[in-house]
């Protein structure tokens, strides 16, 4: 599982944009005056929940899959994911006409498995532990000779995610700040690099749930903190930084702001109500963090990546009883 692990260059990101253009959507950028009045700043929402397969993940997966040589591609692609990345890889492989295998822990929700299958991905179930996932992945790699596409710690994936911020900046012009959620750090690494390459004065600010603050604490400690529980409602934000994303975020982030669970749910509902967009809880973390730190953003022009909209419509968080 040797990974392409150099920091994406401006050329890598421009190549990614060209490579994914025939496949990915150029998602709209929306604003809400009532949310801006609450926030005290301009917010330009880049709607990656409207991306194919319902999340920004398709950009990175698509760039990785279409970066393969024909010979490599013919042997297929393998990944590990219990979430949006698995579906994104399956869809990207379908677009290229090659096989996708997704190693999925048995605990994964049925709804996520259905998405992978809907795009023609083969599911290999395994036990939940990381070592079990790695073993299952190695087995598939050995059997098939397929290429491995990591969900975030991969140059091609980060370059793909960066294209969302490139489009955002192309559309709205200057921004003071770009914000996104941080899980494994692929989206935020791409956003920070795209912003930095456009204008080093743009501030890149990551966001995490207070209950999954490993990236925040890793940056503070100067080393990756791993193995913590992540008891947050944000099922998309439970991964940990990889070596590559850690080094990019350490170099380029101003900070990581935290948000508590109840404000995350409130921000999620606010986006549903005012922007009329279906987003998943993870996707609401940047707005929750901004609203909890209004003074930091007063009067600024903020770009915010809405990361995804894959949520179980039968179990909305504001309808459950919560502590």
């Amino acid at each position: 599982m040797q990974l392409p692990d150099s920091i994406p260059t401006p050329a890598d990101i421009a190549d990614a944009a060209r490579r994914i253009a025939p496949h990915a959507r150029r998602t709209p950028v929306l604003r809400s005056r009532s949310i801006e009045a609450l926030a005290g700043c301009e917010i330009h929402f880049k709607c990656e929940n409207l991306q194919r397969a319902g999340a920004f993940k398709f950009r990175g997966a698509c760039n990785a899959v279409f970066s393969l040589s024909d010979e490599e591609a013919a042997r297929g692609v393998v990944t590990q994911s219990s979430g949006n990345h698995g579906a994104a890889v399956a869809l990207a492989c379908r677009e290229r006409g090659i096989a996708a295998t997704v190693v999925v822990p048995r605990s994964a929700p049925r709804i996520k498995l259905r998405a992978i299958e809907a795009f023609g991905g083969r599911i290999v179930p395994c036990e939940v532990s990381q070592s079990a996932r790695d073993a299952a992945t190695r087995e598939v790699l050995a059997e098939t000779g397929a290429s491995y596409v990591h969900p975030f710690n991969d140059t091609r994936v980060i370059a793909g995610q960066a294209t969302a911020t490139v489009e955002l900046l192309d559309e709205v012009g200057h921004l003071d700040v770009v914000m996104a959620p941080v899980s494994g750090g692929g989206l935020m690494s791409g956003a920070a690099l795209a912003a930095h390459y456009r204008d080093p004065a743009i501030r890149a600010i990551g966001t995490e749930p207070e209950k999954a603050r490993d990236a925040h604490d890793s940056l503070l400690a100067g080393e990756r903190i791993t193995g913590r529980p992540t008891p947050t409602i944000c099922d998309g934000l439970r991964a940990e930084l990889g070596p590559l994303t850690f080094s990019i975020l350490r170099e380029h982030l101003e900070t990581i702001l935290l948000a508590d669970e109840a404000p995350i749910i409130e921000a999620m509902r606010l986006i549903w109500e005012r922007l009329k967009l279906v987003i998943e809880p993870s996707c609401a973390v940047p707005l929750a963090a901004l609203l909890a730190h209004r003074e930091r953003f007063a009067g600024l022009r903020v770009g915010m990546i809405l990361s995804g909209g894959n949520v179980d419509l039968d179990a909305l968080p504001w309808q459950a009883d919560r502590d």
Copy 2:
């Protein structure tokens, strides 16, 4: 309550587009490959749920309000509405800096009243009957000398609603069919006229819930049918055609297709799941009707207006027990 009741001309619609451009959003047009695979045709969704105040209604209200002379405007605007039109008029009046009064039946849901108030509209409650609404409206008109803006049977309002279809056609080029829901008929009249003026070969197809099929039956009977109960979940589709919208739809509609309640709820959920858009039940009627009549649309390029997204997030229809 003399209404401007001529059929909007191409010039009226072009004027409306210019008049509302500084205020209304140019909403995005989205597609979903999975919905198209289900439907067997191309569907270009014009996302008026993302319009200001959450519905296409802002276009017509804005055009009417900004059509007033300064002298007329100074005396304010009055309308009757228990739904999206009231909020749209309140917002349009706030944009122009004039007073809005909305006559609202006491039965209207709190959530709709809050939207009118949030935009600075004055609410005058009245009894539910149409005669009570008219009496309350006349009283306000007599007191204030304000201008009346009817929700649909008004040249200025129809010309405003038509701009949604103008934008849709500008963006996607040729369409075989344009579809929208029919309540009072303002949106569908505007869509049919905009399509006809662009290319008389474009087919205009209205849609209604089976449980509020008064417009369908009116076209069939050749005269307006009124006074029927409308026991549908689609709270935005309970109005009846006016003389102006009836005459436009009679001239320009190919037909009105009907949809049952359960398929409407399924179509609503499909749009939430696949397009990641919050829409209200009324807004799902065209997709439900299309899916119920697939053969009619096979292989065509369809434009569909998503009319609005104002829905109570605490009471989603697929979560309630229904017959």
